[in-house]
Amino acid sequence: MKIPQTAAFLGISTGQVRRLIQEGQLTTVSNKEASGSDTGLLLRGDLEALRQALPALTLSWGQSHKRSPLEIGSRSEERLRPKKKPLRKAQEQAPVEDLVLDDFQIEAAEALQAGLSVIVSAPTGNGKTLVAEMLARDVMAAGLGMIYTSPLKALSNQKYRDFKILFGEEQVGLVTGDVSINPGAPMLIMTTEIFRNWCLSEPAQLEKISYVVFDEIHYLDDAERGTTWEESILFAPSHVKILGLSATVPNADEMADWISSVRGGNVVVIMEKRRRIPLSTQWILPNGRIVGEKEARGELEELAEYLKALRNKKRWLEE
């Protein structure tokens, strides 16, 4: 039997089986014959014999064997104990925000100043919004208007609050299905649905608008609502330029080509694939160990095998 099956057979975890082997309570087949490579296989006869002694053995390990890396007492003890306090780092002070723009932000700003439509594709939290804010300043300085659309009402409300602080209450409006505040303002926050409706039924309201920002333009791919973005891009008046902000997607170029083909004019694509701060991904195993991808895959295979063995256990016992 392999280790996962053994664990299921004895009703203990794979880690415990390994411990039994380590402590010499169990021997793998190859060890016994002392020849050839280690197969890691265990004999069923041995297991049958061990089964009687097992409760005493595991008891002697105490609680610690269960979650050895992160030992925690029993529940009832916890309630009485004082709560845990986190480690605090020496200086947890907010750093001074550096005002240096990233290359992609500069490139985007230049293309927008040239009056072009732009698609910016960059990872989350890398400062795409700043591009839209710079654009808003330019547009308003030129005495023109801009519309900022976002995919969710909650986000529109949030943006409205943010932009009110940035640009002043009278400069900013909010139009969603259920609210309309200051709809004549030069800087309008909208849901994409409302923008689409204006394009079709009230294009006169968009005469002074020079740019529309589509935040999260990859919503084009949303099964239910994507069509709203399609219609907005197809029906926005031709003098309105587009700034599309997208999460990292592999086909930003294709989106740009399409927009350019239906609306005419150049559409510049600005791609920032690199994260400002690199990301490390790790997996937390059921026993609490934190491991990298390779080890995680190995453990998962073993876990799957163990679950299968657990399902088969009943049948074995009947045999």
Binding site: L70, A94, P95, D98, G125, S201, K273, T281, L285
Partner: protein
């Protein structure tokens, strides 16, 4: 034995040098359960911070006492004072806003949240933990897409604080096969998702020329991608056809006939097989054919066999491309079919005829949800003739899809019965289900709220969470505004809609900025 499951308290212990953390969980209920669990073991705040949180809470409570009440709030309040929170769509906006504010003020160390916390507004953390990587997408449990994962994991890593951001994926020992592994080089491309709604068709007919409609149908992103793929496939199929005839030209004229030794050997094998299976008639026939054909000696057997093999490969490959080509052609056609079907439906129901608009068509032009159902309810006179509270009850159910555990007090209103019948009639006439989405469940809540019930009372009437009730009413207010525009000229209906809206848009349901 029971499978051991690491608790979130243990996870936090293991990564406590990498806080604050956003703990992504794909069920609202579980965000709360995990937060409570963690709150048993941990308290992250010192006295000064607790005071600060306390005063921010008091500020928010003073502003909107209604939103901050009830047993749910009391337990969240306790957790906030320990530096722990949960955040999901079932909460009222002022509560979510408070959590966001505390997080931005660096007063929360662990936030258990659903996916929406990662959309839009920037809340960076030192690490992102995934309680699991399987999510219910409305049809099935599936593993997160690369795009979804990186959108969320992207929150890990604060500029100026962290050298690297950390993502941790908890392996769920019940579903090990659904543990995600993600690759930022394999992020899914965006594809076009055009869907034709009644409003799309009406808007096109009202505001666009034939040429523009044609462009809309032919040049949307979905079509752009389909046609591009179609073009590539066509080219490939042609190349394959060229290659096939090239290979065929290289084969001798006897290829594939029984005079060719290769084919003959194959036929013999087939003969044996037929004998085995006792298919005598077929066997005899094949035997005769072999006997009739004069065998030919082949000078170039090896080359011939290689070529035949190659031919078969190319043919199979070409076949798969042709199949894909056919499937894509079908999708291209479906865009036009969908448009025609919706247009024909609108003609059949008397909304339009060609470019001519009738009263219903003009009305529906201003609607953006369940256009046909709402128009029919309005034209039945139900909204004007019944009591305003009844009308509010009917409209609350438009486009509401109850979950399988959604319960509300049942209200036996004749007006709801009538709405049900109108919907039933439409379905019988062949209007597709997706244009007739309506439920009677929110009816009792809207009826009570219109008549002055408190938000607490609504909570007691149903299994819905505060955030759900909030969005039912915000959507109804949205719909009422659409109806006001659609009703142009019908002052009675406009006033009725305005009156309902005024009554609904109050207290916890009202927005604040």
């Amino acid at each position: 034995m029971e499978l051991t499951e690491i608790s979130c308290s243990e996870i936090i212990e293991a990564i406590q040098d990498k806080l604050p953390v956003l703990f992504f969980v794909f069920s609202r209920g579980r965000t709360e359960v995990l937060a409570q669990d963690l709150g048993q073991d941990w308290d992250f705040l010192n006295a000064r911070e607790k005071k600060e949180v306390g005063s921010k809470i008091k500020e928010a409570e003073a502003e909107q006492p209604g939103a901050f009440s009830g047993p749910g709030w009391r337990s969240l309040r306790r957790l906030l004072l320990q530096g722990i929170a949960y955040h999901h769509a079932g909460l009222l906006p002022p509560v979510k806003y408070l959590v966001e504010n505390l997080y931005a003020g660096r007063l929360l160390w662990v936030v258990f949240c659903t996916e929406t916390f990662a959309a839009g507004v920037n809340f960076p953390a030192a690490s992102a933990v995934f309680d699991s990587t399987r999510k219910w997408d409305g049809h099935d449990f599936r593993i997160l897409q690369n795009r979804e994962f990186f959108q969320m994991a992207g929150r890990a890593g604060r500029r100026g604080f962290d050298r690297i951001g950390h993502a941790f994926i908890r392996v769920d020992s019940r579903f090990p096969e659904q543990t995600g592994f993600f690759d930022d080089k394999a992020i899914e491309p965006v594809s076009g998702r055009l869907m034709i709604s009644p409003n799309t068709v009406l808007s096109l007919l009202r505001y666009k020329t034939d040429e523009e409609i044609d462009r809309f149908l032919n040049e949307n992103f979905k079509m752009y991608q389909l046609k591009k793929r179609q073009g590539l496939l066509k080219e490939e199929i042609e190349v394959m056809a060229g290659r096939i005839s090239e290979i065929e030209a290289g084969l001798c004229s006897e290829n594939g006939t029984l005079t060719c030794p290769v084919e003959r050997a194959r036929a013999r094998k087939q003969l044996k097989r037929l004998r085995w299976k006792n298919k005598n008639r077929e066997k005899d026939l094949l035997q005769k054919q072999i006997a009739l054909a004069a065998p030919k000696k082949c000078l170039n057997l090896k080359k011939c066999m290689a070529l035949s093999e190659r031919l078969k490969q190319v043919q199979t490959y070409s076949q798969t491309r042709k199949q894909e080509y056919a499937a894509i052609t079908q999708q291209v056609d479906s865009v036009f079919t969908e448009y025609r079907e919706v247009r024909d439906l609108l003609e059949k129901l008397g909304y339009v005829k060609g470019r001519e608009f009738f009263a219903r068509g003009i009305f529906a032009l201003e609607l953006h949800v369940q256009e046909i159902l709402v128009t029919e309810i309005a034209f039945s006179g139900l909204l004007e003739e019944s009591e305003p509270a009844d009308a509010a009850a009917i409209l609350a159910g438009i486009e509401f899809i109850p979950g399988k555990n959604t319960r509300t007090d049942i209200l036996d209103l004749p007006a709801l019965q009538q709405a049900y019948l109108i919907r039933h009639e439409l379905l019988k006439m062949g209007v597709p289900e997706r244009f007739c989405i309506w439920s009677n469940l929110p009816g009792s809540l809207a009826y009570a709220w219109y008549n002055g019930a408190t938000f607490m009372e609504l909570m007691e009437m149903s299994s819905l969470q505060p955030g759900d009730i909030f969005s039912i009413f915000r959507r109804e207010i949205d719909l009422l505004r659409q109806i006001e525009r659609a009703a142009a000229g019908n002052t009675a209906l406009i006033e009725r809609a305005q009156a309902i809206r005024g009554q609904l848009d109050r207290d916890e349901i009202a927005l604040s900025f």
